[in-house]
């Protein structure tokens, strides 16, 4: 089975995000860049499927600038076979991202596309569903379990009020939720091997898809800050103030 795994570079989730005073973006001077945590889970799931089946190929794809090679190399060190970096200097909106990835998928012809349900920077949660529609493929979002059957793929999804299971025949798109797996760390031999794996750069413009953003971020602002309140000395006092002062119970 050939699996395409789109990954995104984001600020480390432990980073404190500061909005620039002019609202043009976030301060990136002290930011450590990592693979989006949900994308890491996607890489891990693809590798597990390949390992279980004993054959197949895991192809990573990312969209950005040449500096993004670092995150693709990390994915290759985890065990992916090769990587594609679609180069663009401009910020693409989710629709354009999906168009680029759908075009790469049309060229690569994978059996599955596995990607994170959302990137923790823009928190959009759109790309997987859009790619599925563009390719006319089924989608299984927010996956917590993936089972590859002889005939069908069944996916358990984390939804409101419980767990839902749906099934489809490949090809299809799966987006990962947190409970799907625990991603592995790249091993030292893995890191050595990754240096020699193919990492191909292609200019976004060469794909012939519409890249013009229809969703633009005009400004960013820091959210209103919540003031810390006060400490109470006992449970009795807590229940009293909730009743008489806050009037919420």
């Amino acid at each position: 089975m050939k699996i395409l795994v789109p990954i995104k570079r984001v600020p480390d989730p432990a980073t404190t995000i500061r909005v620039l005073p002019d609202g043009s973006g976030i301060a990136t001077d002290n930011v450590k860049w990592v693979i989006n945590p949900f994308c890491e889970i996607a890489v891990e799931e693809a590798l597990r499927i390949k390992e279980k089946q004993g054959n197949g190929e895991v192809v990573l794809v990312s969209i950005g600038q040449s500096t993004w090679q670092e995150q693709l190399r990390t994915g290759l060190a985890m065990g992916a076979d090769r990587a594609i970096l679609v180069i663009t200097a401009t910020t693409l909106d989710p629709l354009a991202i999906a168009r680029v990835l759908a075009k790469v998928a049309a060229d690569e012809k994978p059996d599955l596309i596995i990607l994170g349900k959302q990137a923790i920077d823009d928190d959009s949660n759109q790309a997987g569903q859009m790619i599925a529609e563009m390719l006319g493929w089924p989608q299984a979002t927010f996956a917590s379990k993936v089972e590859i059957g002889a005939d069908k793929i069944s996916v358990t999804r984390e939804v409101d009020g419980g767990l839902e299971t749906i099934a489809f025949k490949a090809p299809g798109v799966i987006t990962t939720d947190l409970r799907l797996n625990e991603p592995r760390y790249a091993s030292l031999p893995g890191i050595m091997k990754a240096r020699k794996k193919e990492l191909k750069e292609i200019p976004a413009e060469s794909l012939g898809v519409d890249l013009a953003p229809k969703l633009k971020v005009k400004t960013l602002a820091a959210p209103p800050k919540r003031q810390a309140g006060r400490k109470v000395a006992s449970v009795e006092e807590l229940v009293q103030v909730l009743h008489t002062e806050a009037k919420v119970i």
């Binding site: 995000i17 400004t219 919420v248």
Partner: protein
């Protein structure tokens, strides 16, 4: 121009609060764009729920039925919703940012070649929208181009629409679905059984974190307090990842976003990802034995205490208060 098509998500004919919040956001948007709200209810048989939704302020409710819409599946529902949006010439397609809304609307947007803004929290007069990014650490003002735009609405950002005596007309239509293009199959739904209020509906939420140490302690220590307060139960990601409680209780950036009147965080340190899911609550209470825990920075009332002692005490105090 300016018309808003609102997806009327229902649970077997019942409209959750999140749907009424989406209707309210739709009414606000339609007013600002000089349009009207058309709500759509989808399913295999629909007379009753469509009639219920007609009382909440939409100009019209369309009841869209097809055997293919029996269970929610993204491919059939996106086909039907996108076709309807085109047919009525809607400028906006809008849904609540629930598990279904998040699954469905991007697919609809791609089908329409339309941009989408996820989880908006405000609608500006100039046609721009506000949405959180970076786990709510930045609020973005976004601009959308094109004849049709797609939006999901964060459940905490608007007050739910209220019912009135006047009901809008309900129009029955057959859904436009190409059955040959459907490739998804519903297998099963394993519901989390609970008699408690839903997280996104409750006015009080009591959440537990890693400090509870086990699923058993959620049951024996936290749940009596939850029930004494008539609250919904929530959890931090750490507690869900550790398997203490089911995933649909997770509050945070990648789980549910709640803003109840009272949020009680028990044994939760307060990672930014958790704060993203509850910091708009009216009153926040934190109970934690670590007085340096970041949760205290957002709490209106903090109690530094051993939760295994404090939580049963609190349940007893609340009980006393109720009977006084």
């Amino acid at each position: 121009m300016g018309d808003v098509l609102v997806f009327g998500e229902h649970q077997g004919g019942h409209f959750p609060k999140t749907t009424l919040i989406a209707i309210a956001a739709g009414l606000d948007l339609a007013k600002k764009r000089s349009g009207k709200v058309v709500a759509v209810v989808m399913g295999d048989t629909l007379d009753e729920p469509a009639g219920t939704l007609a009382k909440y302020g939409a100009s019209k409710v369309i009841s869209l039925s097809s055997p293919a819409l029996k269970n929610y599946l993204a491919d059939a529902h996106s086909q039907a919703l996108a076709a309807l949006a085109k047919k009525i010439g809607a400028e906006y397609v809008l849904a609540a940012a629930t598990a279904i809304g998040k699954d469905l609307l991007p697919r609809v947007a791609a089908r329409l070649g339309a941009p989408m803004a996820s989880e908006i929290t405000a609608i500006n007069d100039d046609g721009t929208f506000v949405r959180p990014m970076y786990a709510g650490n930045a609020m973005a003002t976004v601009e959308m181009d094109g004849p049709i735009k797609v939006l999901t609405v964060r459940g905490t950002a608007f007050d739910a629409a209220k019912p009135s005596d006047a009901a809008a007309p309900v129009e029955k239509q057959g859904a436009e679905i190409d059955a040959g293009a459907l490739k998804m199959e519903f297998v099963s739904f394993n519901a989390t059984k609970s008699d408690r209020p839903q997280l996104t509906e409750a006015s009080i939420v009591v959440s537990g974190g890693r400090g509870l140490k086990s699923g058993e302690n959620f049951k024996t220590v936290l749940e009596p307090l939850v029930d004494e307060m008539g609250a919904a139960m929530g959890a931090s990601r750490a507690a869900v990842d550790a398997g203490f409680v089911p995933n649909d209780l997770q509050v945070g950036q990648t789980g549910k976003v709640v803003a109840p009147t009272l949020y009680v965080a028990v044994g939760i340190s307060g990672a930014i990802q958790h704060l993203a899911g509850m910091k708009d609550s009216k009153i926040i209470v934190a109970i934690n034995k670590d007085e340096e825990a970041p949760i205290f920075n957002v709490a209106d009332y903090g109690l530094v205490a051993d939760l295994f002692k404090a939580v049963p005490e609190m349940a007893a105090e609340v009980k006393k208060l109720k009977h006084s």
